[in-house]
Amino acid sequence: MVHRTIRVGGLTRVEGEGALLVRARDGRVNDLQLRIYEPPRFFEALLRGRAFTEPPDITARICGICPVAYQMSACQALESICGVTVDGPLRDLRLLLYYGEWIESHALHIYLLHAPDFLGYPSGIAMARDHRAVVERGLALKKAGNDLVAAVGGRAIHPVNVRLGGFHRLPDLRGLSERLEHALTLALETVDWVSGFDFPDVEHDYRFLALTHPDEYAILSGDLPGFPVDEWPLHITEEQVPHSTALHSRLDGRRGYLTGPLARYNLNFAKLSPRAREAASALGPVCLNPYKSIVVRAIETVHACDESLRILDRYKPPDAPTVPVEPRPGVGHGASEAPRGTLLHRYRIDDDGLIAEADIVPPTAQNQARIEDDLRVLVEPRLGLPVPELTALCERAIRNHDPCISCSAHFLELCLEQ
């Protein structure tokens, strides 16, 4: 009888803080926990009693990597309560802002967090010693994304220009097209570069969740598979499980579904922009290999650049930066596609225009059970490997899903059973 306990304390090159615990016996994994030790910050509770206009600025602070996703899901949920739809050029500006976040976040993950795994470096900075031009290309691409967010939103992290109904001020978009043309070139080079990596031969039978939209590779709005956004609380439930350290999401009662780039790509391939679809011709319309998510992120970056250029081309400034939004009592739902997956919000506004309830389900909470499933499949046949090697493999498998642990609005710090 052989007992083995593997602890990966302090996951690196992920955003936020987590750890992994594996307990095995006689070659079988008995217990596997992706531990989240990010301290809880109680956003849903501290939103209660605040003005209905405040969630976009407050929930942005849940995640410094994807604040725009929080602002967009929050705005749409609250606007739906107030009976307001933001469309035309104002919706285009929201898309631009969001594409900027995709470019910035995907470039960060591809070049600084994920690619070092494929090329055998501990970090993007270490990788730059041998591949300086490549890392500089990644940083330039990332900067183009940040510049787009800053142009529309005021600054790259926690943009200040977003409000219910639109924006505080119409942005100055001059000069952006040239920068995005350049970014598109860099993104296409990125697809070529990452496509040449050596990928482990693994495919999983994933159950995907992503927004779908009749005309768009959904990012800002759409329907969820089989149900509209305002029914998400009926289909997606969260449970607090004593043997684990985080809330686990279930989709229609079943655990272990996946949201994020792989989900979007497999569900919405046909809606990719022409340049992105061309760049995806080698990968094809189906991708079930989690390691190839780096290719999918690169293709989505091409899409984001391509679509941003299209928007900049057609954009005519509207008369006003915002449409008026008056508070109404009621419940509303919002969903959008954060770089790492579907981000769900639900709010209730009371008779005084204050937030009575807030509920936020971030993508990493939804993916956690599925990441554990990926790990179980990876670890069981490799229990004999030396611990450092197995540890590195596990970290790699987790990074495939770009978990953003700081955006775990309500992951738990649990008093662990020993």
Binding site: G64, I157, C407, H410
Partner: protein, 231 residues
């Protein structure tokens, strides 16, 4: 080469991301100071002591209260980065015991302190860099100052000074928009007023603020009139 460490406590990652957002300077910085511990960016960590520790996030769990003491012990200089580490941040709005059952069905599983507190409530801090998030030029100034062995040159005057320098119309006087700029420390470049909204104070109070004068202003009849006509 001197050693830099980056630490995270309760936070959104945005302030440490600011270091990676220095796209044009990151590789230059990495050539001047060894980035020895930075879990978000590197899977290797070289052991302390460290010459400069940048600390993000506020202290909100019993474990973190111990961890920040450890970080202080192994750091020659400790600089807090951002509103969470410097002032407690947005999660300091909470009163934890009352909030726990609102978010979690079984609050018993959660180990947390009653309040989220700034790093300076636990250990001595050598310099506090403000902002939610911090400004990347100010971050580079702090690192450069540290490398040169001098105090960082970070202005402590109000946002109003930056607003005037930028030529923004005063949103408070001209539009009757409530604005914390007169009592908030500069550093953002008067960003919110430039976008037609009032400052909400994410850089924290300026040196010797005068909130009483701001209160008199927003209670005066001319202000109320403007505020109402602006809708």
């Amino acid at each position: 080469m001197k050693k830099l460490a980056v630490w995270k406590f309760a936070s959104c990652d945005g302030c440490q991301l600011t270091l990676l957002d220095c796209e044009d300077e990151l590789l230059t910085v990495a050539a001047r100071i060894e980035i020895a511990h930075f879990a978000e960016a590197s899977s290797v960590s070289s052991p302390g002591p460290y010459d400069l520790s940048l600390v993000e996030g506020s202290i909100s769990t019993p474990e973190d209260r111990e961890r920040i003491r450890h970080v202080r012990r192994i750091s020659k200089h400790l600089v807090t980065i951002g509103a969470c580490a410097t002032a407690g941040g947005i999660q300091a709005l909470r009163e934890t015991p009352a909030l726990l059952p609102v978010v979690y069905a079984r609050p018993g599983y959660i180990a947390t302190l009653d309040r989220a507190t700034p790093v300076s409530a636990h250990v001595p801090v050598d310099f506090e860099l403000r902002g939610c998030p911090i400004d990347k030029r100010q971050l580079l100034e702090v690192i450069a100052a540290f490398l040169a062995g001098r105090r960082p040159v970070i202005p402590t005057h109000s946002v109003c000074v930056e607003c005037k320098a930028r030529g923004n119309p005063c949103v408070l006087v001209a539009h009757g928009t409530p604005c914390l700029g007169p009592v908030t420390q500069a550093g953002c470049g008067a960003l919110c007023p430039a976008f037609n909204r009032g400052c909400f104070g994410c850089f924290g109070p300026m040196e010797t603020p005068n909130p009483a004068a701001l209160k008199i202003t927003v209670e005066s009849p001319w202000y109320t009139e403007r505020s109402e006509s602006a809708g």
